[in-house]
Amino acid sequence: MEWLLLGLLLAAALLPLLRSPRPAGAQVWAGIFFVAATAAGAWLWQAHLEIRTGARASLEEKLPHPGRPGGYVSSDSCRSCHPDQYTSWHQSYHRTMTQVATPSSVRGDFENVTLRLRDETFQLQRHGDEYWVEMMDPDWRRTRAEQQLSFDEGKSTSPPGPAAGAPRGWQRVGLLTGSHHMQAYWVPGKNGNQQLGFPFTWLMEDQRWVPRNDVFLLNPDAPPPHQVWNGNCISCHATAGQPRPDPQTQIMDTRVAELGIACESCHGPAQEHIRVNSDPRRRYALRREKKPDPTIVNPARLDAKKSSQVCGQCHAVRFNSKKAEWLTEGFRYRPGGEEDAKVPPVRYNHLAETPVLPAGLKDNPEILHGSFWNDGMVRVSGREYSGLIESACHERGELSCLSCHSMHKSKPDDQLAARMDGNQACLQCHQKFEKNLSQHTHHAAGSSGSLCYNCHMPHTTYGLLKAIRSHQISSPDVAVDLRTGRPNACNLCHLDQSLGWTARKLSEWSGKPPVPLGADQETVAASVSWLLRGDAGQRALVAWHMGWEPARKTSGEDWLAPYLAQLLDDPYSAVRYVARRSLQRLPGYEKFPYDYIGPAEERRRAPQRALDIWPVPKTTPARPSVLLEAGGFLQRDKIAALLKQRNNTPLELME
């Protein structure tokens, strides 16, 4: 059909040329040339299109299929009416959470790169617009990992076979996850359109590949992860995903409304909205009357609880008790509905009241310590809703995610609405503090201590290789620190002060008696104590704060290097990474050579190498709280004694 139309049009165009007065031979030849050139061009163009569409079709066959029932139409249809919102969403990291691997989405280096992980080798290459990995067969690899786990847990008596005998082959990278801090990649498995994890992650900040385990705060002995995108990531990194494994064969026929977090994730299915609004009279009538359109959900018009649940469908620790239903249907929640009634968030302090939680979880809440501090405050990133719902401002007031964040009028980084990066965020409700802010904060106006966020939303959650602000609004309380081990806001800025100092200050301000403390707690800087004695999560948080500019300004930075150096040989990769980054922010260490996943022997030598170049002047006065004697000598015995008390309980933070 296309060829026929092409021929007809060409004939129609050339006819006048051939019929023009006294057609000369040159004109005839020109006509022939035009016809021949068009035919050749069309043939070449069609061949090019066939190659492109063929390659894309073979890739798409192995990807989650776009389009699903339930009234979803995808963002494809939204731009023509909502160009501004489409543009702001298009710039967001929500959109790029899951993408097909193309030159515009891939950030990792695939130019003939060889990677090694334990006994495995991976060869990465780019062929035109396609990204390929030569590796052990991903399905075989997954089966081997399951056998290894079974053997490690004592369920099986025979270990898996050696990797040397594994089938190998080139795998085309299908999907990728993330585009902001790090990017993970997925290769097709044999089970339908299953996508299996490639065990390396591209770190944006460092522009390098690192094993997947080394970007999370995981038990150092944890085996390499073997993730299946269709059974896990789909729930929050795609819009309205349905995993759909075949009950008999387990072959996946996964489909999504759209890859990434798109318009319908927050506004609900839009088919009906588009159908009724294809009538321009309706659109103009709605605008004239300034009425909300009942065919679509606008989270900004929902009450604080329901609008927050829109974000909370993903940004929460939840327990899905209807896994079988989810596998076939996906989540039943739609924006504007009651998500918490369908898939309740796990509330550490209310486990008994949450009927769907398994008994094991209720009886043994320690299972949740990878997600919560032991007073119920969430400690991992990406679960902000779990913090919000424990905040009095939300429970008793109007605080919602949209009080401070805006999806369409913000920068992509934190998606904070205009002026919400300062005190205005809190003052919009707590206006009484505006006039006498210093009286409330006990810090000079304009100082980092007079920022509401720094005291009430300190960086006590961990994720993405950094500390992130807690979204549970709280106030510093030394008694809570003692119970939970969670660093308090005061000592995360006043790194050189002890818990005793904080307790006295808080007592002075509140009029309540100070919390009784032990000798070390009275004298040793809390940050030093957490860094030496704390668990891996506490160490990562303190290490991050030692690189945080307000804390360095407040506490001085000349004493920080030995403590950060100490963490360069930490058993946890994530702790080493955070310590290295903070150390390199100190004067004299900007170019300190150190690889946080380098050979163990080099890592062991790193703390001494860092100490050797510590530029502490010999005239330094004694600073007992940070275990520094006059002349810049460390109290090594004291440090060793605190190190001996380190909390080595294995920790895995479920960010």
Binding site: A13, W45, N277
Partner: protein, 158 residues
Amino acid sequence: MNNPTRPDHETAVLTRRHLRLGWWTLLTFLTLGLVLETLHGFKVGAYLNVSNETRRLMWTLAHAHGTLLGLVHLGFAFSVRLLPGWPARPRGLTSACLTGAGVLMPAGFFMGGIFIYAGDPGLGILLVPLGGVLLFIAVLLAARATRYFAMEEKRSKN
């Protein structure tokens, strides 16, 4: 230049042909504009959805090129009347090239938007450069023909 004289009848025929072509082309592509506007008004996904961006671009270009080429036809019709010294052969060739371009360019864009392959237009897009070449020849010949103005002026002064 071999035969500077030409019968008035030929001029009249050419003028009529391009006036007809010009006005009908304008009507066709202004109608297409109305159709495109209607597609906007009713938010037709086949035209406005992001996945149909190529179609939207192709049809917009078809509308723009068709309309402009309609005006060029009208301009040519008036030029023919203003340049009685323009020899028949180059004038005829200009007319033929312009007619060809008037078909190939807008129709090529339009057809390129009927069949689309993700971000690529269909085979029709290949007609556009051919139309472009014909248009270039036509405009070049018409531009060269403007020298007959000077010759006419000199002749009338003498």
